[in-house]
């Protein structure tokens, strides 16, 4: 088991490294850098900056170096010193900005993850047990519908209804009186009262897909002879269902964490842009549009690392559930 854990952990680290290279390369791709942008802006307002000063600025920020040198500098600062660089646009430490947004992002992603599972699991089990019933067809249809409606459209529709009913187009994470309040139990409860709405929006696509996965997994199990044997021995139907087939069907279900987590993070990004929530998405979007290199690259790195950690946990969970995996 330890060998397996070590192997998966090493693999996760390599993944993070590769992802960090991709993230940095993608952000670096656009021609020009923040200095070009700044020079253009000063040219509009005043006489501009003389080329020598521009060159000095570039050297100061390290932008004159080739890309791989910049990358190595960036990643070693993060790994060894925990410094994510500087936000040119917000004139602050990029790491601080990212750290500010991450707790709320994690809350959103975890919230939508829990919603996805607690809704999809029973729905899928019930649809499989009552196969071809009205409920089964209903669950299938809702599943397909969830896949067909983009979450940002759901977000607009939600805003539409809040605006036409309450006269304001905001879905915040807190009531107004709690926004700037220090953390307290009341504030936490207030957050929970608000968080489920955007979390549900993010979760809907996953709920559709996972309900179908759980239904299919369980149907495969229910057709196996051991179920008939158990039934013929007089085992009560609910006991029979929960004791064996559901547990079997859960194994492939756990492995869906691997794609569910990236999907939920993507969903959170887009929802937080539309609803302007104080999570990673809205700031990532702004930093991308402003070519704020270190903030954008940092966000992508942190978000991707989250999914890699999630996948790692799901691998361990699977190995714990299913000895066949850890022994081979």
């Amino acid at each position: 088991m330890w060998k397996y854990i070590l192997y998966r952990a090493g693999y996760a680290m390599v993944s993070v490294l590769v992802i960090s290279m991709i993230a940095f390369a993608v952000i670096q791709l656009p021609p020009g850098d923040y200095i070009t942008d700044m020079v253009n802006r000063t040219r509009q307002t005043s006489g501009g900056i003389d080329p020598e000063a521009e060159q000095r600025l570039r050297e100061a920020y390290g932008f004159d170096q080739p890309m791989h040198i910049q990358y190595i500098r960036w990643i070693s600062n993060i790994v060894f010193r925990g410094e994510f660089g500087y936000s040119f646009f917000l004139k602050r430490d990029a790491g601080e900005i990212i750290a500010e947004r991450m707790p709320m992002t994690m809350a959103m992603v975890l919230g939508s993850f829990m919603l996805t599972w607690t809704i999809a699991l029973p729905l899928g089990i019930y649809a499989a047990v009552r196969k071809h019933s009205i409920f089964d067809y209903g669950a299938t249809f809702i599943g397909f519908f969830g896949l067909a409606v983009p979450s940002f459209v759901l977000a607009i529709v939600l805003l539409y209804f809040t605006y036409s009913n309450f006269g304001r187009a905001t879905i915040g994470l807190f009531s107004p009186e709690f926004v700037d309040a220090p953390w307290s139990v009341a504030k936490f409860i207030n957050l929970m009262q608000h968080l489920w709405v955007p979390a549900l929006l993010v979760a809907i696509t996953g709920i559709g897909a996972l309900t179908q996965t759980m239904r299919a997994n369980l149907l495969d199990e229910l057709n196996k002879p051991y179920v008939n044997t158990a039934r013929s021995k007089g085992l009560a139907e609910t006991h029979l269902l929960w004791k064996y087939p559901v547990r079997h069907a859960l194994n492939p279900f756990v492995s869906t964490i691997g794609w569910l987590l990236p999907a939920l993070i993507s969903g959170d990004v887009i929802i937080s842009i539309v609803l302007n929530l104080p999570t990673a998405g809205s700031l990532l979007y702004a930093s991308l549009l402003q070519q704020d290199l270190y903030v954008a690259a940092g966000f992508i790195l942190v978000l991707s690392t989250l999914t890699v950690i999630g996948t790692f946990i799901s691998d361990l969970l699977l190995a714990w559930l299913d000895p066949r995996i850890r022994l081979t």
């Binding site: 693999y11 993944s15 590769v18 992802i19 991709i22 993230a23 993608v26 952000i27 791709l29 656009p30 397909f144 519908f145 896949l147 067909a148 409606v149 983009p150 940002f152 459209v153 607009i156 529709v157 805003l159 539409y160 605006y163 036409s164 187009a169 057709n223 691997g258 794609w259 990236p262 999907a263 993070i265 993507s266 969903g267 990004v269 887009i270 842009i273 998405g281 990532l284 979007y285 991308l288 549009l289 954008a296 966000f299 992508i300 978000l303 991707s304 999914t307 890699v308 996948t311």
Partner: protein, 384 residues
């Protein structure tokens, strides 16, 4: 992983129990495609989905004919005109028409209040003469499937937007861009998937391992942030066509992994199959083995996975354009139209800016998913 079709295509393969009539037509002798069709046509949802998808693409090929108006023609008089209900029967006879519109301007807020003008009736017909256009880019024509009989009359079945452009005509023209983004993107990701998945499955061993790890890593990156980052690269002044290809390229680069996995899985399963071994022993060269024997035998699986990935592409384009980093006006795509519906305060007053586009997207994606699922199930005629 499902079992390969060809291993089960032996005379002993069990005919599905409910297929008595089809068993008579000898399942053993039926070709793979016939078997697929038999299974597919039993799936009513997939059939309906398929028909809707065909209709959508038909509209996307000839939008000028299906749209009653020019999607760019603005009309200052009819800004934010509400949808006009269509009536078919007049005085007990078939005589389609809409009522005209009249507005009053609030002297304080300057907001227009539209009322139906029951005095004026605008006759509507099929195959009416309207604005001239060129079909497919070279056939001059001026007939439209439906529209006002006198081509200048106001005719807004789904209302007008802030510059008085017809929402319905814009949705129809947008389908051309939105639907082909999916096709072009899938074509690119298919080529990538075939090559990379093929290499992985055919060579196997270390190469396969390396490619599989690479795919896992790509899959673990959240899509939207990378898409946003790539799409934000496109400078604002870039020509429309280039933006279009860039966006499809981005979508393809993030979605070929699914295709590569399907191809690899099929290759791995087929490699050990008897008929492939027989062909190899016969001295069939590798290239011919792949193109003549292997690819045809899993083509159905590829078609099914193509169908499943098109909706993803279309929704992604819509999302990117909605966020303002995809296609931009003057191009009309569903995402661009949804972006125009972003101002909630506006949409609450003029809801026809939101609902029709949303409906168009949702109906298409639903149908495509039903079709894709039916095809996927049918690609394995012996699977339960």
């Amino acid at each position: 992983m499902t079992t390969s079709i060809d291993t089960s295509l032996t005379p002993t393969a069990p005919a599905p129990a409910e297929d008595v009539s089809e068993a008579n037509r000898s399942v053993e002798a039926a070709s793979q495609w016939t078997l697929m069709w038999w299974k597919f046509r039993k799936d009513k949802l997939a059939i309906v989905g398929g028909i809707v998808v065909i209709l959508y693409y038909l509209v996307a090929v000839f939008p000028e004919f299906f749209a009653p108006k020019d999607p760019f023609a603005f009309d200052a008089q009819y800004t934010y005109a509400p949808p006009q209900p269509l009536y078919f029967i007049l005085d007990g006879r078939w005589n389609p028409f809409v009522y005209g519109l009249r507005f009053e301007r609030d002297p304080v807020s300057l907001k227009k209040t539209w009322t139906v003008d029951y005095e004026s009736r605008i006759p509507v017909g099929f195959f009416v003469k309207g604005e001239p256009y060129t079909l497919l880019g070279f056939i001059p024509a001026d007939r439209h499937l439906f529209g006002p009989v006198n081509s200048g009359d106001p005719f807004y079945l789904m209302g007008a937007d802030k510059t008085g452009r017809d929402v319905l005509s814009r949705i129809i023209h947008a389908s051309r861009i939105s639907l082909t983004v999916g096709l072009v993107g899938v074509a690119v990701s298919l080529v990538l998937g075939l090559i990379i998945g093929g290499i992985s499955g055919l060579i196997g061993g270390r190469v396969d391992n390396a490619i599989q790890r690479m795919i896992e890593i790509i899959n673990s990156i959240p899509n939207i942030p990378i898409m946003l980052a790539l799409a934000a690269l496109v400078p604002v002044g870039t020509p429309v066509l280039q933006v279009y290809f860039f966006i499809t390229l981005i979508l393809a680069m993030l979605s070929w992994t699914g295709m590569a996995r399907v191809v690899r899985g099929r290759f791995l399963a087929l490699r050990e199959d008897d008929f492939i071994l027989a062909a190899r022993l016969d001295g069939v060269p590798q290239m011919r083995l792949v193109t003549k024997h292997m690819i045809p035998s899993f083509l159905s699986h590829i078609i099914a996975s193509i169908t499943i990935s098109i909706p993803f592409m279309i929704l992604s384009e819509t999302g990117l354009s909605f966020l303002g980093v995809g296609l931009r006006p003057p191009v009309v795509s569903w995402g661009v139209m949804l972006r125009e519906a972003q101002e909630i305060a506006t949409v609450v007053n003029y809801p026809w800016l939101l609902w029709p586009v949303t409906g168009a997207v949702v109906i298409f994606v639903l149908s495509m998913n039903f079709l894709g699922n039916g095809l996927r199930d049918a690609a394995d005629p012996y699977a339960n």
